[in-house]
């Protein structure tokens, strides 16, 4: 239930709303819990709200590992 999905902020709107891209699907979420989130950043989304800004450097490292593993399999 505490599942979160990462999405990229592609538009910032009024009232702490933002449009995010999640795997090619666009949805509107609230960024009231992460007011520091900027355009182009990845956020972790849960129940219509961004919970946290994802640290891209660390995420890329992990993603790279994961990708390499998938290729290898």
């Amino acid at each position: 239930m505490c599942l979160g999905v990462p999405g990229k902020i592609i538009d910032l709107k009024e009232n702490y709303m933002a449009v995010v891209d999640v795997n090619g699907n666009q949805t509107e979420i609230s960024i009231r819990l992460t007011p520091e989130a900027e355009l182009g950043q990845y956020v972790l989304i849960h129940a219509g709200f961004a919970m946290e800004v994802v640290d891209e450097t660390i995420a890329l490292e992990t993603m790279q590992y994961l990708e390499e593993m998938l290729q290898y399999e």
């Binding site: 505490c2 219509g48 919970m51 640290d55 994961l66």
Partner: protein, 359 residues
């Protein structure tokens, strides 16, 4: 060999080289799912035990609360909005899904904001959002309450069964019957609460805690970090899931929880009443509190006959040790909530264990 595969292999070798007995508990339903799916339990030697804990908010909701909610939706002026996982959870007499097929207006939403929109669109009805979830979800519900207040929406309220994770972990660590050497701590709850609550627990009970992500690689790394601490006789709180969880958590989200909710004793299925583990709306928001608005008194707790969810949630038995597992109780015909919820231990074990390994 490439880096990722090599790293995974190194981690696994590190884990397999541990010769001491160790049992680790995961306390997040998403971990329960991910671990079951990865097949890790089958790979690990018997002296490294992975237990599942009370990490599924649906599963730990008390029977009395579920019965109270089911009773509420029989009122035809009420629209109940909830997350999908709640629909099939059995109450003493029926489930929300059954009530809906009997004509009750029960709707599934992805965000509490959807419930507020439904309230705006149906001014002649009372719309109740079933607020369920741990620290990850509660801030979203708090901000929805704020918006309802700002917009002056009068026909909206929240039935809060929200709970907090650390008090349940404390209960588990302090129960002499439960042998848990370390905790695989929930990634997304921790994105809100940060590392401090686990530091307190790790010190007090002298057992390591590692906040872990949800990919198999994350989980392997989390287990590895716990085993290393145990070997070095350390008991610290560490973060493996660094790409999301900051040591300080999310202070904005914590402030929202504190502004709208206050801690109260709450009944957890299987764990009993835990002091200061539940969250009720503060008195300033009584008009938005469904329990007050509809005068709901606590219902009697009628346990489901034969269901061992309580012991499963405490890590005292494995799902397959329940006499009903796979016999009277399957995901298609669930007896207890642990078999209903996606993230319930029984459902996760059932789905990912080959039929012959189930008994």
């Amino acid at each position: 060999m490439n880096n990722g595969k090599k790293y995974q292999q190194d981690l696994l070798e590190g884990i397999l080289s541990a010769d001491e007995n160790i049992s680790l508990m995961e306390v997040c339903g998403t971990h329960t799912m991910a671990i079951a799916k990865s097949g890790l339990r089958q790979i690990l030697p018997p002296h490294i035990k992975l237990l599942s804990g009370p990490g599924c908010p649906v599963c730990v909701t008390s029977q009395g609360d579920i019965d109270a909610i089911i009773e509420l939706v029989q009122n035809e002026d009420i629209i109940l909005v909830t997350f999908g996982d709640m629909m099939r959870v059995p109450g003493t007499r029926s489930s929300l899904q059954e009530e809906r097929s009997q004509g009750s207006d029960v709707r599934v939403a992805y965000s509490p904001l959807d419930a507020l929109r439904i309230a705006r669109e149906n001014p002649q009805k009372e719309v109740i959002f079933l607020g369920i979830g741990f620290e990850t979800t509660t801030p979203a519900v708090g901000l929805t309450v704020q918006q309802a207040r700002e917009e002056g929406v009068k026909n909206f309220s929240v039935f809060s069964v929200h709970k907090m994770v650390p008090p349940a972990l404390e209960l588990i660590f302090s129960d002499p019957e439960i042998q848990v050497d370390g905790l695989i701590c929930p990634g997304h709850v921790s994105a809100v609460i940060g590392v401090e609550p686990y530091e307190i627990l790790a010190q007090k009970y002298n057992r390591p805690c590692v906040i872990t992500g949800f990919e198999t690689l994350d989980i392997l790394e989390g287990i590895y970090m716990l085993i290393k601490q145990k070997q070095k006789r350390q008991a610290r709180a560490e973060i493996q899931y660094r790409r999301v969880v900051k040591p300080e958590g999310n202070p904005v989200a914590r402030e929202v929880i504190a502004r709208f909710f206050e801690a109260v004793p709450a009944r957890w299925r299987g764990l009993g009443v835990i002091p200061d583990s539940g969250l009720k709306l503060r008195d300033e928001y009584a008009d938005l509190d469904a329990r007050k608005k509809f005068n709901i008194t606590e219902m009697e707790e009628v346990p489901i006959k034969g269901c061992a969810c309580g012991e499963v949630l405490m890590g005292k038995i494995m799902p397959a040790e329940c006499p009903l597992f796979g016999r009277g109780c399957t995901p298609l015909q669930p007896v207890g909530p642990c078999m209903v919820s996606h993230e319930g231990s029984c459902a996760a074990y059932y789905r990912f264990t080959p039929a012959k390994g189930r008994s």
